[in-house]
């Protein structure tokens, strides 16, 4: 019985492959001057690792840092910046978003920019492929480096510096994303502004 089931399975599989091969070629009736071919290629893209790391700024002098930018209290050159330590490594295998699939398609078609920004936020809603944004974005950083040394695996790496105060100063992160580049919408000069500034952008009707 087991061998009969196996033979049935092989027969069905062979039939499916033959049908797929037949679908790749076709001669349109009455059009003897054109031979049509229609191969289909499929590539699955998934994220397979998300790694979070941190390092202490120690006694390093960091220009712009509220605590480590004071000469005499921090050390130029001899400052002790810590080394990268892993916080956690997630090996969840996830599909990319539907938006991401079309983004890859668009690169094949017209050469879009590669996704070169890491974005972090505080949302904790489960991932789904129809999402187009983080749930509660907090900060964004340019890609600092990448890795393409392994066949069919590429890494995008971004860093949030200690001077990125809005992200690194007491924020609770629960989500990480990779996005393609945005654009500067406008630039304003706050020369005449006070220390407290409200910027309001009204959409046109």
């Amino acid at each position: 019985m087991a061998s009969d089931v196996e033979e049935l399975g092989k027969t069905i599989g062979l039939g499916i492959r033959k049908q797929q091969n037949m679908q790749q070629t076709m001669t349109r009736p009455g059009t003897l001057s054109t031979y049509f071919l229609m191969p289909t290629y499929r590539v699955k893209i998934q994220t397979t690792r998300c790694k979070m790391e941190h390092k202490t700024v120690g006694t390093a002098f960091i220009l712009g840092h509220t605590d480590n930018a004071i000469l005499g209290t921090s050390k130029l050159g001899a400052g002790t910046m810590g080394s990268w330590t892993t916080i956690e490594t997630l090996y969840d295998i996830q599909d990319i978003t539907n938006y991401g699939k079309n983004y890859v398609r668009d690169w094949l078609y017209s050469g879009t920019d590669y996704p070169n920004y890491i974005i972090v936020g505080s949302g904790d809603t489960a991932f789904s492929t129809d999402q187009t944004n983080l749930i509660a974005p907090i900060g964004i950083t340019d890609e600092d480096s990448s890795n393409n040394s392994t066949d069919a695996i590429g890494s995008i790496i971004g860093e949030f510096k200690s001077t990125d105060r809005y992200v690194v100063d007491g924020k609770v992160l629960k989500e990480v994303g990779v996005v393609a580049g945005g654009r500067t919408i406008f630039t304003i000069d706050t020369t005449k502004g006070g220390q407290n500034v409200n910027v309001t952008i009204n959409t046109e009707a």
């Binding site: 499929r42 893209i45 991932f127 992200v167 007491g170 945005g182 910027v199 009204n202």
Partner: protein, 223 residues
């Protein structure tokens, strides 16, 4: 005495880079460009996007502000709750894996997967440009980098991205090409000569003559 509040009101609609798609509020951040810092945002209200820069330690008179739009979420991951601190810096690494899921007598070889990998990692590879046909008869394999028995290579005659997740290309083996040959392979490349093999198919034999042309329409589906 603290300085009085000052408001800048910008009227207009924010667009994505394509110039036609309106950028939603959720895709915008206000940045203190001078100091390289993100600033707070508040809830959208009646079409107004309010960014309250009341943390004066991140803002100084004369700083240049930018409204920055980000688009195109490629992937998203939940992490264990992480409370950040200014005493540390943070590094995030995201890996993307590319797998061939083609069935039948076609394959996206490793070289083709690496082409996509190189694009994701910013190496700026060239997208597909040509289609080739050959006389080889071995089964396509992941390690293939050339088209076995390649005889003719022509520039793509058309491309489109109108379907979801699908890139479509058309190549033509003209009536004057490869006559007298038995065509058994086709491939997609990103150069007029040499280049990277993105896709390869083993065909049922086609005895090519000058009485017909071969029109090949390939679909690349991103899963």
């Amino acid at each position: 005495m603290p300085n009085p509040r000052h408001s800048h009101v910008i009227r207009g609609t924010c667009y994505k880079a394509d110039g036609s798609t309106v950028l939603p509020y959720a895709n915008m951040m206000l940045v203190n460009y001078t100091q390289g810092k993100m600033l707070t945002t508040t809830a959208n209200s009646s079409g107004k996007y309010l960014f309250d820069c009341n943390n004066f330690t991140t803002f100084t008179n004369g700083d240049t502000m930018q409204l920055y739009g980000y688009t195109d979420l490629i992937s998203r991951h939940l992490i264990s709750s992480l409370t950040t601190t200014a005493a540390k810096e943070y590094r995030i690494t995201v890996d993307y894996t590319f797998t061939d899921k083609t069935v039948g007598n076609s394959i996206v070889p490793t070289a083709g997967l690496n082409l996509l990998r190189d694009w994701v990692t910013g190496q700026a590879p060239t997208a597909p440009t040509h289609m080739a046909w050959g006389t080889g008869t071995t089964t396509p394999a992941a390690g293939d980098t050339t088209l076995e028995g390649e005889d003719t290579r022509n520039a793509l005659s058309s491309e489109s991205n109108s379907s979801n997740y699908t890139y479509k290309i058309v190549g033509v083996l003209a009536k004057t090409d490869s006559n007298g040959e038995v065509i058994t392979k086709s491939g997609v490349f990103n150069a007029a000569a040499a280049g990277t093999l993105l896709g390869e198919t083993l065909l049922s034999p086609i005895s090519k003559t000058a009485t017909f042309l071969v029109q090949e329409g390939d679909n690349f589906i991103i899963l």
